[in-house]
Symmetry: C2
Subunit: 168 residues, 2 copies
DNA sequence: CCACCTTAGTTTCAAATGAAACGATAGGCC
DNA sequence: GGCCTATCGTTTCATTTGAAACTAAGGTGG
């Protein structure tokens, strides 16, 4: 079942109906627009912002887990984490059983910062989705979850690459 | 109307319900997975692939227009275009009225390559969205369009930044 | 206990990126 | 025509990126 090729059948691609393109395009534009909030006003990179947001939600995480949750490279995560620690927005503590892994959590300053950023991010999101009804919003999230499931199936036919949208 | 903050109201962010995060995450993972097709098998970068795909659809485009359509930086587009020309996948021709703009179009080799890539990309997409019914697929695209409209409204309250998904 | 393999996170290095400066053309406007 | 400003696309340069090598810590099997 394929709707990105309606008219000419073979070899024709209509990008408006090609999900990978549509998602990449919208996501890119949204990320870029949202970054104006956390980048310009709080001097955070995308990577830093994502890490903070996840730590806010999960209390404590390893760098490894953050890689899975955010789909970011481990080098990128490592660097962002160090920058956040330097700014004392998060703190790091070695696991006592396994000296390799280190647990990350928000530092007081990070919590303060988030209390400032998050409401703005939420307000901003609200403006964007103002075009959607409550039902449509829920439908959209539900459909994205379904796509994510299809994706997970392909990404790792038998291995779990973390399904961040379904934490429970 | 906001669903990313259910429980605690102020200052709490649940990422699973935060659209910018969900879109970025899914789009990133899809792009990454799809790139295995055009990168590994055809040695194309994302930028190159997007340009080819758009040229396939629109016959002829200026670099400027490609920037708008793909939400990519003009330096990035410039470089990708030159690489494509070097590989003789596309061709360039100056506009006779305006010597600044140059029109890009697929070269024979580019068309051949696309005839090879596109079916694979479509098949791959089909696998991903196999979890969706036809109706759900259409709904998803429709909802994304609505989000895009909300986004366009914020991006430029009175100026058109090209709505690639609604070409007509 | 000692090879050997795996895993967590860091670092290195080359390539990709984007902001800003640039060159070249075009379009007023006087 | 000469001057000012805007636009298309390229290039420069400093930063960011990610693949791969690396360090350090566990595990495992003999």
């Amino acid at each position: 079942m394929n709707f990105a090729t309606d008219s000419n059948d073979v070899g024709e691609l209509r990008l408006e109906g090609f999900l990978p393109y549509r998602l990449a395009n919208i996501a890119e534009r949204i990320s870029q627009a949202l970054s104006l909030i956390y980048a310009e006003q709080f001097d955070l990179t995308i990577a830093q912002w994502r890490i903070l947001a996840w730590l806010q939600q999960e209390r404590t995480l390893s760098a490894k887990r953050i890689c899975e949750l955010t789909a970011m490279d481990k080098a990128r995560v490592s660097r962002a984490v160090n920058q956040l620690i330097e700014r004392e927005l998060i703190q790091r503590q070695r696991d006592h059983e396994d000296q390799r892994t280190q647990w990350l959590s928000l530092a007081p300053a990070g919590l303060t910062l988030l209390k400032d950023v998050i409401p703005r991010a939420l307000d901003w999101e609200a403006e964007i989705v103002a075009t959607l009804s409550a039902t449509e919003y829920r439908d959209l999230l539900r459909l994205l979850s379904k796509v994510e499931k299809g994706l997970a199936r392909l990404e790792s036919p038998s291995h779990d690459t973390a399904s961040p949208s379904e934490p429970n």
